[in-house]
Amino acid sequence: MITTWSIPDKVEDLYPQKALELEKNRRVLVDFFLKNKFELISPAMIEYADNVSFNGKSVDSDMFKLSDPLSGRLIGITPDLTIQTARIDNYLASSSNDIKSYCYCGPVLKADTSSFNQSREELQVGVEIYGNEKIEADISVVSTLIKSLKLLKIKNILLSFNDISIYTAFLKSLALSAHDSKQLRSYFAKKDLVSIKNLLGKNLNSSKISKIELFMDMFGDDKSLKKIQEFFVGNKVILDRLKNLKKIMSALPASVKIIIDLSDVDFYEYHSGFIFSAYSSKFTSPVAKGGRFENLTTNFGKKRPAVGFTFDLRSLLFVG
């Protein structure tokens, strides 16, 4: 008789029925991506840790690390295939403007997971478009996500939109220390005004605290966009970003409900512009996440505009 559970916490074996379901879903999605001219890549599972570390703590802290007996260097088991894709794109793109579209489906391992029901082992599926800074790439990626989720029979899809550059610009206007800015991001992600007041209360005047409170209220359906635009009157950069969000919203099917949430900043730190999450009833956390990540590619050589999404195919098996 087995008296102890023999695999680590937050990973699981898939038995025949679920394993077959996973494989069928993988095939459906990869076929769909190939049909839509995304090139399939299969990134390496391990990576030099310093290739990932410079992208910010959030990716780095998600990574299992070990010493490579061949090189003596620290290597990490990839927690996120976007970084590998950016590295691969750097080799494959002939120039900064060369438009490349990739898709992938591979295992990733997360050292920790904040969500109560999330496995540390994921089968991460995603698409990414490099070299296209135009809004058409954003629309293409979000449309592909919607179609992908529908192919997997995920119903009642809701998208949450934001542009991280609006949050960054707002934060800059508060002139905070690097330490406070970093801490503040996790509080914004929770809309936790009490902790923000505790952190900054002594250093910020009440008008700035009120501004933060108003910023956190910048949340709602498409009707709230007008209120958000009024809040940023006179700030051309932010108004342009909001206009960009509006254009993306207008280009998507009316059947998909969209929420705007300017304090939804719970994303990897390599994101730089338009960001989004997909939700669906029966799921208590986002089904998929994605967005722009212009800064990431610079670390590998070429500065390339990029946008994409990822989600975990395994987690979809255990809902319903």
Partner: protein, 213 residues
């Protein structure tokens, strides 16, 4: 269907007027009923009666869409999957460092002494003393923290202090405030987005009631 998780006792009593502001009235009294799911005047809204420390878990896991939880529980729980949407300004108290009257707290802080601290709030306590550069050994207790320094098990305690009467009755004094504590309205992140049309009016009504008080 919207589900609101809250605990019996003081939080429930102080939450009722706020819920009434959102036109939500509970039909039963949780103090006399053994039911754990209570109906309201709105057939699409129900209340879950759970332990105060379990409220964030119910909301994070999607067992409830909305919850009322103390800031102490939320800071200790530290969930990334819920919003702390509004300070309800009820069930107010303070998270304090306390110890025996005879203890020289200022000297211990200056000397950066290694301290024994009894508490059930291990995360909050670790973070507080880490910011001061003081190493502590935590003694995890689930209640009657005041006893620990009295029987020389710890130098200090970290606990919630309301009137201060329990400290006084046990010859303890509070030395330093860690934070003000009050109940917060929390919402599951996915619920707020997926049920925006139902939840947002409730949030607005509760915020209005809080501001009127």
């Amino acid at each position: 269907m919207l589900t609101i998780a809250l605990s019996k006792g003081r939080i429930f009593q102080e939450t009722l007027p706020l819920l009434q502001g959102a036109e939500i009235e509970c039909k039963e009294n949780p103090e006399t009923s053994r039911k754990l799911i209570l109906n309201t005047n709105n057939k699409n809204i129900r209340l879950l009666i759970v332990r105060a420390s379990d409220v964030p878990t119910y909301v994070e896991c999607g067992g409830a869409d909305i919850g009322i939880a103390g800031k102490d529980v939320l800071d200790e729980f530290d969930s990334a999957n819920l919003y702390q949407i509004c300070d309800l300004k009820i069930a107010k108290c303070k998270m304090m460092v306390a110890g025996p009257k005879s203890y020289d707290y200022q000297k211990a802080m200056q000397q950066k002494s290694r301290l024994k601290v009894a508490t059930k709030y291990t995360k909050i306590t670790k973070e507080f003393f880490a910011q001061k550069g003081i190493h502590i050994d935590i003694i995890k207790l689930y209640g009657s923290m005041e006893l620990a320094p009295l029987v020389s098990m710890s130098d200090l305690i970290v606990d919630l202090v309301s009137s201060g009467q329990t400290l006084k009755a046990n010859n303890l004094v509070d030395y330093e405030k860690i934070s003000d504590i009050s109940s917060q309205l929390i919402v599951n992140k996915a619920s707020l987005k997926l049920k925006f049309d139902e939840i947002q009016p409730i949030i607005n009504a509760i915020k209005n009631s809080v501001n009127e008080n």
